[in-house]
Symmetry: C2
Protein backbone atom coordinates (compact mmCIF):
# COMPACT_ATOMS: atom_id res chain seq x y z
CA UNK A 1 0.00 0.00 0.00
CA UNK A 2 1.14 3.50 -0.78
CA UNK A 3 1.65 5.77 2.27
CA UNK A 4 1.19 9.52 2.50
CA UNK A 5 2.86 11.24 -0.40
CA UNK A 6 5.93 13.22 0.58
CA UNK A 7 6.23 16.70 -0.87
CA UNK A 8 9.48 18.67 -0.84
CA UNK A 9 9.71 22.41 -1.32
CA UNK A 10 13.25 23.16 -2.43
CA UNK A 11 14.66 26.66 -2.66
CA UNK A 12 18.04 28.32 -2.84
CA UNK A 13 16.77 30.98 -0.44
CA UNK A 14 13.83 31.28 1.97
CA UNK A 15 11.47 28.78 0.40
CA UNK A 16 8.56 31.21 0.64
CA UNK A 17 7.91 31.46 -3.10
CA UNK A 18 8.13 27.73 -3.67
CA UNK A 19 5.81 27.01 -0.75
CA UNK A 20 3.27 29.53 -1.95
CA UNK A 21 3.25 28.05 -5.45
CA UNK A 22 3.26 24.45 -4.30
CA UNK A 23 0.47 25.01 -1.76
CA UNK A 24 -1.76 26.64 -4.32
CA UNK A 25 -1.51 23.48 -6.43
CA UNK A 26 -1.75 20.98 -3.56
CA UNK A 27 -4.88 22.61 -2.12
CA UNK A 28 -6.61 21.48 -5.31
CA UNK A 29 -6.40 17.90 -4.06
CA UNK A 30 -8.21 16.45 -1.07
CA UNK A 31 -5.21 14.41 -0.02
CA UNK A 32 -2.87 14.50 2.94
CA UNK A 33 0.72 15.25 2.15
CA UNK A 34 3.83 14.97 4.26
CA UNK A 35 5.39 18.36 3.59
CA UNK A 36 8.98 19.40 4.07
CA UNK A 37 10.73 22.63 3.14
CA UNK A 38 14.45 22.60 2.42
CA UNK A 39 15.50 26.24 2.10
CA UNK A 40 18.99 27.57 1.42
CA UNK A 41 19.83 24.73 -0.99
CA UNK A 42 22.50 26.87 -2.56
CA UNK A 43 25.43 24.55 -3.27
CA UNK A 44 26.09 21.33 -5.15
CA UNK A 45 26.87 19.62 -1.84
CA UNK A 46 23.55 20.63 -0.31
CA UNK A 47 21.71 19.61 -3.44
CA UNK A 48 23.33 16.17 -3.23
CA UNK A 49 22.20 15.86 0.39
CA UNK A 50 18.69 16.88 -0.65
CA UNK A 51 18.64 14.23 -3.38
CA UNK A 52 19.73 11.65 -0.82
CA UNK A 53 16.96 12.72 1.55
CA UNK A 54 14.35 12.52 -1.22
CA UNK A 55 15.46 9.05 -2.28
CA UNK A 56 15.50 7.81 1.33
CA UNK A 57 11.99 9.16 1.81
CA UNK A 58 10.81 7.37 -1.33
CA UNK A 59 12.03 4.08 0.06
CA UNK A 60 10.48 4.68 3.49
CA UNK A 61 7.13 5.66 1.94
CA UNK A 62 7.17 3.17 -0.94
CA UNK A 63 6.09 6.08 -3.12
CA UNK A 64 7.79 8.57 -5.33
CA UNK A 65 8.11 12.01 -3.75
CA UNK A 66 6.81 15.19 -5.31
CA UNK A 67 9.29 18.04 -5.54
CA UNK A 68 8.56 21.71 -6.10
CA UNK A 69 11.61 23.78 -6.84
CA UNK A 70 12.54 27.41 -7.39
CA UNK A 71 16.28 26.72 -7.62
CA UNK A 72 17.83 29.17 -10.06
CA UNK A 73 21.40 27.97 -10.55
CA UNK A 74 21.62 25.60 -13.52
CA UNK A 75 24.14 23.21 -11.96
CA UNK A 76 22.35 22.90 -8.64
CA UNK A 77 19.10 22.36 -10.49
CA UNK A 78 20.69 19.62 -12.57
CA UNK A 79 21.65 17.79 -9.38
CA UNK A 80 18.13 18.09 -8.04
CA UNK A 81 16.72 16.56 -11.20
CA UNK A 82 18.72 13.39 -10.55
CA UNK A 83 16.39 12.58 -7.63
CA UNK A 84 13.88 9.80 -8.20
CA UNK A 85 10.97 12.21 -7.96
CA UNK A 86 8.59 14.16 -10.10
CA UNK A 87 10.07 17.66 -10.10
CA UNK A 88 7.91 20.73 -10.72
CA UNK A 89 10.53 23.26 -11.66
CA UNK A 90 8.99 26.74 -11.59
CA UNK A 91 12.04 28.60 -12.71
CA UNK A 92 12.97 26.33 -15.60
CA UNK A 93 9.40 26.24 -16.83
CA UNK A 94 8.83 29.94 -17.17
CA UNK A 95 12.15 31.74 -17.39
CA UNK A 96 12.95 30.63 -20.95
CA UNK A 97 9.68 31.84 -22.47
CA UNK A 98 9.95 35.05 -20.43
CA UNK A 99 13.49 35.71 -21.69
CA UNK A 100 12.25 35.16 -25.21
CA UNK A 101 9.36 37.57 -24.77
CA UNK A 102 11.54 40.25 -23.17
CA UNK A 103 14.40 39.58 -25.56
CA UNK A 104 16.98 39.74 -22.77
CA UNK A 105 18.74 37.13 -20.71
CA UNK A 106 17.78 36.85 -17.05
CA UNK A 107 20.38 37.51 -14.38
CA UNK A 108 20.10 34.10 -12.76
CA UNK A 109 20.78 35.86 -9.46
CA UNK A 110 19.36 34.05 -6.48
CA UNK A 111 17.49 35.37 -3.50
CA UNK A 112 15.88 38.28 -5.21
CA UNK A 113 12.24 37.64 -4.60
CA UNK A 114 12.22 37.72 -0.83
CA UNK A 115 15.56 39.38 -0.25
CA UNK A 116 16.28 43.02 0.43
CA UNK A 117 16.81 44.36 -3.06
CA UNK A 118 15.78 47.89 -2.47
CA UNK A 119 16.43 49.11 1.05
CA UNK A 120 14.30 52.25 0.62
CA UNK A 121 11.22 50.22 -0.29
CA UNK A 122 12.11 47.87 2.49
CA UNK A 123 12.15 50.71 4.99
CA UNK A 124 8.69 51.78 3.80
CA UNK A 125 7.43 48.34 4.65
CA UNK A 126 8.87 48.40 8.16
CA UNK A 127 7.63 51.93 8.65
CA UNK A 128 4.13 50.92 7.58
CA UNK A 129 4.27 48.04 10.01
CA UNK A 130 5.31 50.31 12.85
CA UNK A 131 2.46 52.62 11.90
CA UNK A 132 0.03 49.70 12.20
CA UNK A 133 1.45 48.77 15.60
CA UNK A 134 1.32 52.30 16.97
CA UNK A 135 -2.14 52.99 15.61
CA UNK A 136 -3.64 49.75 16.73
CA UNK A 137 -6.68 49.58 18.95
CA UNK A 138 -7.49 53.28 18.81
CA UNK A 139 -3.96 54.45 19.66
CA UNK A 140 -2.61 57.83 18.50
CA UNK A 141 -5.79 58.94 16.78
CA UNK A 142 -4.25 62.39 16.28
CA UNK A 143 -2.03 60.90 13.57
CA UNK A 144 -4.90 59.50 11.49
CA UNK A 145 -4.12 62.04 8.76
CA UNK A 146 -1.19 59.79 7.77
CA UNK A 147 -3.36 56.69 7.41
CA UNK A 148 -4.29 55.29 4.03
CA UNK A 149 -7.21 53.48 5.62
CA UNK A 150 -8.77 53.23 9.08
CA UNK A 151 -10.51 49.99 9.99
CA UNK A 152 -13.43 50.22 12.37
CA UNK A 153 -15.20 47.41 14.18
CA UNK A 154 -15.87 45.66 17.46
CA UNK A 155 -13.07 44.00 19.40
CA UNK A 156 -11.66 40.82 17.77
CA UNK A 157 -13.28 41.12 14.36
CA UNK A 158 -9.90 40.97 12.55
CA UNK A 159 -8.78 44.58 12.44
CA UNK A 160 -5.26 44.22 13.85
CA UNK A 161 -4.01 41.30 11.73
CA UNK A 162 -5.47 42.96 8.63
CA UNK A 163 -3.65 46.23 9.34
CA UNK A 164 -0.37 44.42 9.85
CA UNK A 165 -0.82 42.39 6.70
CA UNK A 166 -1.64 45.53 4.68
CA UNK A 167 1.68 46.97 5.86
CA UNK A 168 3.77 43.87 5.22
CA UNK A 169 2.35 42.90 1.86
CA UNK A 170 1.48 46.25 0.33
CA UNK A 171 3.29 48.96 2.33
CA UNK A 172 -0.07 50.51 3.19
CA UNK A 173 -0.51 52.64 6.33
CA UNK A 174 -3.50 51.22 8.16
CA UNK A 175 -4.85 52.30 11.53
CA UNK A 176 -7.66 50.65 13.42
CA UNK A 177 -10.27 51.89 15.83
CA UNK A 178 -12.25 49.55 18.07
CA UNK A 179 -15.87 50.45 18.68
CA UNK A 180 -16.31 50.53 22.45
CA UNK A 181 -19.61 50.09 24.27
CA UNK A 182 -19.69 53.83 24.76
CA UNK A 183 -19.31 54.38 21.02
CA UNK A 184 -22.10 51.90 20.37
CA UNK A 185 -24.41 53.59 22.86
CA UNK A 186 -23.58 57.02 21.46
CA UNK A 187 -24.98 56.10 18.08
CA UNK A 188 -22.78 58.65 16.27
CA UNK A 189 -19.48 58.27 14.53
CA UNK A 190 -16.88 58.46 17.35
CA UNK A 191 -15.22 61.87 17.52
CA UNK A 192 -11.67 60.83 16.42
CA UNK A 193 -13.10 59.34 13.22
CA UNK A 194 -15.25 62.24 12.05
CA UNK A 195 -12.53 64.14 10.21
CA UNK A 196 -11.46 60.99 8.31
CA UNK A 197 -14.76 59.71 7.04
CA UNK A 198 -13.45 58.84 3.57
CA UNK A 199 -10.72 56.62 4.98
CA UNK A 200 -13.05 54.55 7.12
CA UNK A 201 -13.87 50.94 6.40
CA UNK A 202 -15.87 48.72 8.75
CA UNK A 203 -15.29 45.04 9.44
CA UNK A 204 -18.15 42.97 10.73
CA UNK A 205 -18.39 39.33 11.73
CA UNK A 206 -21.06 36.81 12.69
CA UNK A 207 -21.78 36.94 16.41
CA UNK A 208 -21.33 33.16 16.82
CA UNK A 209 -17.83 33.24 15.35
CA UNK A 210 -16.95 36.32 17.37
CA UNK A 211 -18.06 34.61 20.59
CA UNK A 212 -15.85 31.62 19.76
CA UNK A 213 -12.85 33.87 19.09
CA UNK A 214 -13.38 35.88 22.27
CA UNK A 215 -13.91 32.72 24.31
CA UNK A 216 -10.45 31.48 23.36
CA UNK A 217 -8.97 34.46 25.14
CA UNK A 218 -11.45 35.12 27.92
CA UNK A 219 -13.69 32.10 28.43
CA UNK A 220 -16.90 32.46 30.43
CA UNK A 221 -16.91 36.24 30.51
CA UNK A 222 -19.61 38.69 29.58
CA UNK A 223 -17.22 39.96 26.88
CA UNK A 224 -17.18 36.54 25.20
CA UNK A 225 -20.85 35.68 25.67
CA UNK A 226 -22.98 35.17 22.59
CA UNK A 227 -25.53 37.69 23.86
CA UNK A 228 -22.89 40.42 24.23
CA UNK A 229 -21.39 39.62 20.84
CA UNK A 230 -24.84 39.74 19.21
CA UNK A 231 -25.51 43.08 20.84
CA UNK A 232 -22.20 44.64 19.80
CA UNK A 233 -22.26 43.31 16.24
CA UNK A 234 -25.80 44.43 15.64
CA UNK A 235 -25.26 47.93 17.10
CA UNK A 236 -22.00 48.32 15.19
CA UNK A 237 -23.59 47.27 11.89
CA UNK A 238 -26.50 49.61 12.45
CA UNK A 239 -24.17 52.49 13.22
CA UNK A 240 -21.91 51.88 10.23
CA UNK A 241 -24.89 51.62 7.89
CA UNK A 242 -26.40 54.81 9.27
CA UNK A 243 -23.19 56.80 8.83
CA UNK A 244 -22.62 55.14 5.43
CA UNK A 245 -19.23 53.57 6.10
CA UNK A 246 -18.55 50.67 3.68
CA UNK A 247 -18.37 47.28 5.37
CA UNK A 248 -17.24 43.67 4.81
CA UNK A 249 -18.17 40.56 6.73
CA UNK A 250 -14.94 38.80 7.73
CA UNK A 251 -16.53 35.62 9.14
CA UNK A 252 -15.21 33.31 6.43
CA UNK A 253 -12.41 35.50 5.11
CA UNK A 254 -8.70 35.02 5.70
CA UNK A 255 -6.45 37.98 6.51
CA UNK A 256 -5.18 37.86 2.94
CA UNK A 257 -8.69 37.98 1.54
CA UNK A 258 -9.73 40.90 3.73
CA UNK A 259 -6.57 42.82 2.87
CA UNK A 260 -6.70 42.24 -0.87
CA UNK A 261 -10.41 43.08 -0.92
CA UNK A 262 -9.67 46.41 0.75
CA UNK A 263 -6.85 47.26 -1.65
CA UNK A 264 -9.06 46.36 -4.59
CA UNK A 265 -12.35 47.93 -3.46
CA UNK A 266 -10.91 51.11 -1.97
CA UNK A 267 -8.32 51.43 -4.74
CA UNK A 268 -5.59 51.87 -2.13
CA UNK A 269 -2.25 52.98 -3.48
CA UNK A 270 0.28 50.29 -2.71
CA UNK A 271 3.87 51.29 -2.00
CA UNK A 272 5.21 47.79 -2.58
CA UNK A 273 4.91 45.61 -5.61
CA UNK B 1 10.09 53.14 -29.31
CA UNK B 2 8.73 50.54 -26.96
CA UNK B 3 7.54 51.91 -23.58
CA UNK B 4 7.66 50.22 -20.20
CA UNK B 5 6.29 46.72 -20.42
CA UNK B 6 2.95 46.28 -18.71
CA UNK B 7 2.57 43.23 -16.52
CA UNK B 8 -0.79 41.98 -15.30
CA UNK B 9 -1.28 39.63 -12.39
CA UNK B 10 -4.68 38.01 -12.81
CA UNK B 11 -6.33 35.90 -10.15
CA UNK B 12 -9.78 34.61 -9.31
CA UNK B 13 -9.12 35.42 -5.65
CA UNK B 14 -6.59 37.56 -3.78
CA UNK B 15 -3.81 37.67 -6.34
CA UNK B 16 -1.18 36.83 -3.74
CA UNK B 17 -0.02 33.57 -5.33
CA UNK B 18 0.14 35.02 -8.82
CA UNK B 19 2.08 38.06 -7.63
CA UNK B 20 4.53 35.81 -5.80
CA UNK B 21 5.08 33.79 -8.95
CA UNK B 22 5.36 36.78 -11.24
CA UNK B 23 7.67 38.74 -8.95
CA UNK B 24 10.04 35.86 -8.50
CA UNK B 25 10.44 35.73 -12.28
CA UNK B 26 10.47 39.48 -12.98
CA UNK B 27 13.17 40.15 -10.36
CA UNK B 28 15.46 38.17 -12.65
CA UNK B 29 15.38 41.03 -15.15
CA UNK B 30 16.84 44.48 -14.64
CA UNK B 31 13.91 46.14 -16.32
CA UNK B 32 11.16 48.42 -15.13
CA UNK B 33 7.67 47.04 -15.40
CA UNK B 34 4.31 48.72 -15.07
CA UNK B 35 2.59 46.27 -12.76
CA UNK B 36 -1.12 45.84 -12.16
CA UNK B 37 -2.97 43.21 -10.12
CA UNK B 38 -6.52 42.32 -11.07
CA UNK B 39 -7.82 40.10 -8.27
CA UNK B 40 -11.29 38.55 -7.99
CA UNK B 41 -11.52 37.88 -11.73
CA UNK B 42 -14.11 35.22 -11.10
CA UNK B 43 -16.67 35.56 -13.87
CA UNK B 44 -16.77 35.54 -17.65
CA UNK B 45 -17.88 39.17 -17.59
CA UNK B 46 -14.92 40.25 -15.47
CA UNK B 47 -12.54 38.24 -17.64
CA UNK B 48 -13.88 40.06 -20.71
CA UNK B 49 -13.28 43.41 -19.01
CA UNK B 50 -9.75 42.28 -18.13
CA UNK B 51 -9.06 41.32 -21.75
CA UNK B 52 -10.29 44.73 -22.85
CA UNK B 53 -8.00 46.43 -20.33
CA UNK B 54 -5.01 44.40 -21.49
CA UNK B 55 -5.63 45.17 -25.14
CA UNK B 56 -6.11 48.88 -24.41
CA UNK B 57 -2.84 48.89 -22.48
CA UNK B 58 -1.06 47.23 -25.39
CA UNK B 59 -2.18 49.99 -27.70
CA UNK B 60 -1.19 52.73 -25.24
CA UNK B 61 2.25 51.20 -24.67
CA UNK B 62 2.85 50.01 -28.24
CA UNK B 63 3.98 46.75 -26.68
CA UNK B 64 2.41 43.43 -25.88
CA UNK B 65 1.56 43.00 -22.23
CA UNK B 66 2.79 40.14 -20.10
CA UNK B 67 0.14 38.29 -18.14
CA UNK B 68 0.61 35.98 -15.17
CA UNK B 69 -2.49 34.04 -14.24
CA UNK B 70 -3.63 31.65 -11.54
CA UNK B 71 -7.23 31.49 -12.81
CA UNK B 72 -8.59 28.02 -12.15
CA UNK B 73 -11.93 27.92 -13.96
CA UNK B 74 -11.51 26.59 -17.50
CA UNK B 75 -14.01 28.91 -19.15
CA UNK B 76 -12.72 32.07 -17.49
CA UNK B 77 -9.19 31.04 -18.40
CA UNK B 78 -10.21 30.52 -22.01
CA UNK B 79 -11.47 34.12 -22.14
CA UNK B 80 -8.21 35.39 -20.68
CA UNK B 81 -6.24 33.61 -23.36
CA UNK B 82 -8.02 35.64 -26.06
CA UNK B 83 -6.08 38.72 -24.92
CA UNK B 84 -3.26 39.85 -27.20
CA UNK B 85 -0.64 39.07 -24.59
CA UNK B 86 1.86 36.44 -23.62
CA UNK B 87 0.08 34.53 -20.86
CA UNK B 88 2.01 32.60 -18.22
CA UNK B 89 -0.70 30.29 -16.99
CA UNK B 90 0.40 28.79 -13.72
CA UNK B 91 -2.53 26.51 -13.15
CA UNK B 92 -2.79 25.15 -16.68
CA UNK B 93 0.93 24.46 -16.76
CA UNK B 94 1.20 22.41 -13.61
CA UNK B 95 -2.16 20.96 -12.64
CA UNK B 96 -2.28 18.39 -15.46
CA UNK B 97 1.08 16.78 -14.66
CA UNK B 98 0.24 16.87 -10.96
CA UNK B 99 -3.12 15.14 -11.55
CA UNK B 100 -1.29 12.52 -13.56
CA UNK B 101 1.28 11.93 -10.85
CA UNK B 102 -1.33 11.75 -8.08
CA UNK B 103 -3.72 9.77 -10.24
CA UNK B 104 -6.71 11.85 -9.14
CA UNK B 105 -8.54 14.78 -10.64
CA UNK B 106 -8.12 18.15 -8.95
CA UNK B 107 -11.13 19.87 -7.44
CA UNK B 108 -10.83 23.01 -9.58
CA UNK B 109 -12.15 24.88 -6.54
CA UNK B 110 -11.05 28.47 -6.39
CA UNK B 111 -9.79 30.50 -3.48
CA UNK B 112 -8.19 27.69 -1.58
CA UNK B 113 -4.64 28.83 -1.28
CA UNK B 114 -5.18 32.04 0.67
CA UNK B 115 -8.69 31.40 1.88
CA UNK B 116 -9.80 30.09 5.23
CA UNK B 117 -9.94 26.36 4.58
CA UNK B 118 -9.27 25.16 8.07
CA UNK B 119 -10.54 27.51 10.74
CA UNK B 120 -8.66 25.75 13.54
CA UNK B 121 -5.33 26.26 11.82
CA UNK B 122 -6.40 29.76 11.02
CA UNK B 123 -7.08 30.48 14.69
CA UNK B 124 -3.59 29.21 15.55
CA UNK B 125 -2.17 31.78 13.21
CA UNK B 126 -4.14 34.64 14.77
CA UNK B 127 -3.30 33.39 18.24
CA UNK B 128 0.41 33.29 17.38
CA UNK B 129 0.15 36.82 16.06
CA UNK B 130 -1.51 38.02 19.25
CA UNK B 131 1.23 36.30 21.19
CA UNK B 132 3.84 38.23 19.22
CA UNK B 133 2.01 41.51 19.85
CA UNK B 134 1.62 40.92 23.57
CA UNK B 135 5.18 39.70 24.04
CA UNK B 136 6.76 42.43 22.03
CA UNK B 137 9.44 44.69 23.45
CA UNK B 138 9.93 42.77 26.67
CA UNK B 139 6.23 42.63 27.56
CA UNK B 140 4.78 39.78 29.68
CA UNK B 141 8.07 38.05 30.28
CA UNK B 142 6.32 35.74 32.77
CA UNK B 143 4.69 33.96 29.83
CA UNK B 144 7.95 33.13 28.05
CA UNK B 145 7.39 29.44 28.77
CA UNK B 146 4.85 29.47 25.93
CA UNK B 147 7.31 30.90 23.42
CA UNK B 148 8.86 28.79 20.69
CA UNK B 149 11.64 31.33 20.37
CA UNK B 150 12.67 34.55 22.08
CA UNK B 151 14.53 37.13 20.00
CA UNK B 152 17.03 39.31 21.80
CA UNK B 153 18.74 42.45 20.55
CA UNK B 154 19.05 46.20 20.73
CA UNK B 155 16.14 48.45 19.83
CA UNK B 156 15.30 48.56 16.07
CA UNK B 157 17.37 45.60 14.91
CA UNK B 158 14.34 43.83 13.39
CA UNK B 159 12.92 41.80 16.29
CA UNK B 160 9.28 42.89 16.12
CA UNK B 161 8.63 42.43 12.38
CA UNK B 162 10.38 39.07 12.53
CA UNK B 163 8.20 37.87 15.42
CA UNK B 164 5.04 38.92 13.60
CA UNK B 165 6.15 37.27 10.38
CA UNK B 166 6.99 34.03 12.21
CA UNK B 167 3.42 34.03 13.53
CA UNK B 168 1.73 34.86 10.24
CA UNK B 169 3.70 32.58 7.97
CA UNK B 170 4.52 29.66 10.23
CA UNK B 171 2.20 29.85 13.28
CA UNK B 172 5.25 30.11 15.53
CA UNK B 173 5.00 31.77 18.96
CA UNK B 174 7.80 34.31 19.10
CA UNK B 175 8.53 36.80 21.87
CA UNK B 176 11.15 39.49 21.81
CA UNK B 177 13.24 41.17 24.44
CA UNK B 178 15.06 44.47 23.83
CA UNK B 179 18.45 44.84 25.44
CA UNK B 180 18.32 48.08 27.43
CA UNK B 181 21.31 50.16 28.42
CA UNK B 182 20.99 48.69 31.91
CA UNK B 183 21.14 45.16 30.49
CA UNK B 184 24.20 46.11 28.45
CA UNK B 185 25.95 47.60 31.47
CA UNK B 186 25.06 44.59 33.59
CA UNK B 187 27.04 42.26 31.39
CA UNK B 188 24.92 39.24 32.35
CA UNK B 189 21.94 37.66 30.68
CA UNK B 190 18.95 39.76 31.83
CA UNK B 191 16.97 38.04 34.59
CA UNK B 192 13.75 37.30 32.63
CA UNK B 193 15.77 35.42 30.00
CA UNK B 194 17.80 33.15 32.25
CA UNK B 195 15.24 30.37 32.57
CA UNK B 196 14.76 30.23 28.78
CA UNK B 197 18.31 30.06 27.56
CA UNK B 198 17.64 27.43 24.90
CA UNK B 199 14.92 29.50 23.28
CA UNK B 200 17.06 32.59 22.89
CA UNK B 201 18.30 33.87 19.56
CA UNK B 202 20.10 37.17 19.12
CA UNK B 203 19.75 39.56 16.20
CA UNK B 204 22.55 41.97 15.49
CA UNK B 205 22.96 44.70 12.87
CA UNK B 206 25.66 47.03 11.58
CA UNK B 207 25.80 50.21 13.61
CA UNK B 208 25.62 52.42 10.50
CA UNK B 209 22.40 50.82 9.31
CA UNK B 210 20.96 50.94 12.83
CA UNK B 211 21.72 54.65 13.08
CA UNK B 212 19.92 55.24 9.77
CA UNK B 213 16.87 53.29 10.93
CA UNK B 214 16.73 55.04 14.28
CA UNK B 215 17.23 58.44 12.66
CA UNK B 216 14.08 57.95 10.59
CA UNK B 217 12.09 57.84 13.80
CA UNK B 218 14.05 60.12 16.10
CA UNK B 219 16.44 62.26 14.08
CA UNK B 220 19.26 64.08 15.86
CA UNK B 221 18.94 62.26 19.15
CA UNK B 222 21.52 60.46 21.23
CA UNK B 223 19.45 57.30 20.63
CA UNK B 224 19.98 57.56 16.86
CA UNK B 225 23.60 58.72 16.92
CA UNK B 226 26.21 56.53 15.30
CA UNK B 227 28.29 56.57 18.46
CA UNK B 228 25.40 55.29 20.60
CA UNK B 229 24.52 52.63 18.02
CA UNK B 230 28.13 51.49 17.85
CA UNK B 231 28.27 51.26 21.64
CA UNK B 232 25.02 49.29 21.96
CA UNK B 233 25.73 46.90 19.09
CA UNK B 234 29.23 46.12 20.29
CA UNK B 235 28.15 45.58 23.93
CA UNK B 236 25.20 43.44 22.85
CA UNK B 237 27.35 41.30 20.56
CA UNK B 238 29.93 40.83 23.29
CA UNK B 239 27.27 39.85 25.80
CA UNK B 240 25.55 37.38 23.47
CA UNK B 241 28.86 35.77 22.55
CA UNK B 242 29.84 35.48 26.19
CA UNK B 243 26.59 33.81 27.21
CA UNK B 244 26.69 31.69 24.03
CA UNK B 245 23.39 32.75 22.48
CA UNK B 246 23.34 32.07 18.71
CA UNK B 247 23.20 35.21 16.59
CA UNK B 248 22.49 36.46 13.06
CA UNK B 249 23.39 39.75 11.45
CA UNK B 250 20.22 41.22 9.93
CA UNK B 251 21.84 44.16 8.16
CA UNK B 252 21.16 42.89 4.65
CA UNK B 253 18.40 40.43 5.43
CA UNK B 254 14.70 40.84 4.76
CA UNK B 255 12.11 39.84 7.35
CA UNK B 256 11.40 36.71 5.31
CA UNK B 257 15.07 35.78 5.26
CA UNK B 258 15.51 36.27 9.00
CA UNK B 259 12.35 34.29 9.77
CA UNK B 260 13.10 31.37 7.46
CA UNK B 261 16.69 31.24 8.71
CA UNK B 262 15.42 30.91 12.28
CA UNK B 263 12.94 28.18 11.40
CA UNK B 264 15.63 26.31 9.52
CA UNK B 265 18.57 26.77 11.91
CA UNK B 266 16.65 26.32 15.16
CA UNK B 267 14.50 23.55 13.69
CA UNK B 268 11.38 25.33 14.93
CA UNK B 269 8.20 23.30 14.72
CA UNK B 270 5.83 25.11 12.41
CA UNK B 271 2.11 24.90 13.07
CA UNK B 272 1.16 26.03 9.57
CA UNK B 273 2.08 24.57 6.24
Amino acid sequence: MVGKRAVFFISDRTGITVETLGHSLLTQFDLDFEQRTLPFTDSIARACAVVQQINDTNRANSARSIVFSTIIDDEIRAVLHTADAVVFDFFATFIGPLEQELMVRSSHAIGRSHGMINSKLYDVRIDAMNYALHHDDGGNTHRYDQADIILVGVSRCGKTPTCIYLALQYGIYAANYPLTEEDLLGGRLPAPLRAHRRKLYALTIQAERLARIRSERRPNTRYASLRQCQYEVSRAKGLMERVKVPMSDTTTMSIEEIASTLVHERKLQRRLY
